[in-house]
Amino acid sequence: MIPGVSITEILTLTSILFFIGVYGFITRKNLISILISVELILNASVVNFVIINKYLFPDVLEGVIYSIFIIAVAAAETALAVAIIINLYRQTGSVEVKDTQVMKY
């Protein structure tokens, strides 16, 4: 545990980060900005895993390992999303959400 910092403070920080990510996810109109917001949300949840492991169950490693898996999945998801965005830009010439109707049907 971090000396002088309680678990509720860290969980407060991660929930603030999570909701900033949700705010960006809803208000942004650009695919890359939405991707950035998703990264924020994922990171907030990963910190939750790690901190709860550290404070409540310090002698096991499950939280750390799950966070490693989440990081791997997030990296794969980002690579695929970037590929899709570049492909969409080739076809429609824009990455705004309102212009991307190619994949709708």
Partner: protein
């Protein structure tokens, strides 16, 4: 000392996260996201998880941010300003997020966490042994699955990003081409088969 560093990191992360979702310039918002990710790595360092902090720095700050910057530079003009949602929608979303945050915080502060005072330092070797452990509670199967997932996503990303161009170049003549290729392959198989049959007894010995 640690609490001062934590509050500093928390302030930096919250400020840059807000800047990242509200900045109207694409590249700047990516760089603000980079600061948030580095702040999270700092929290891992504070919590004494050195390996996780290193993973966070290499995968996120090194890999994901570079990928996103690449896509921004490929897709955008840097000077272009993003359009943002209308003021009303921003307000409604902000209120919604605030209420959600209030629910989260009320749950967090009303629950009594049973914090154990002990502080255990985990080494990288322990994490590696746990990941490759095939006994009960081991993580070798998800570890292998995640490696296959990474390979699949890498190939998928290459195929999606190449996309369309190769398929549009030859729309219909591809059929006769395929038939020819199949014939050639069959002939090659016929030629290869006797060679393979000859080889097998040698290998079994």
């Amino acid at each position: 000392m640690e609490s001062i560093i934590f509050y500093l990191l928390a302030a930096i992360m919250v400020i840059f996260a807000i800047a990242s979702v509200s900045s109207r310039k694409m590249l700047r918002s990516v760089v603000y996201l980079l600061f948030v990710l580095i702040g999270i790595a700092g929290i891992y360092f504070l919590a004494d998880y050195n390996f996780l902090a290193a993973v966070q720095l290499t995968v996120y700050a090194g890999g994901v941010i570079v990928l996103i910057i690449f896509s921004v530079l490929l897709v955008h003009h840097i000077e272009m300003r993003l359009e943002v949602a209308s003021r009303k929608k921003q307000l409604i979303t902000g209120l919604l997020c605030m209420s959600g945050l209030a629910v989260f915080l009320s749950v967090i502060y009303s629950y009594s966490f049973e914090v154990t005072g002990t502080s255990v330092t985990t080494t990288t070797a322990q994490i590696g042994e746990k990941l490759l452990d095939y006994g009960p509670g081991g993580f070798i199967l998800p570890f292998e699955v995640i490696s296959v997932l990474l390979l699949a996503s890498m190939i998928g990303a290459i195929i999606i990003a190449k996309g369309e161009k190769t398929t549009k170049k030859h729309p219909t003549p591809g059929v006769s081409h395929n038939v020819k290729m199949m014939k050639v392959e069959q002939e090659q198989e016929l030629q290869i088969n006797p060679i393979l049959n000859e080889k097998t007894p040698v290998e079994t010995e």
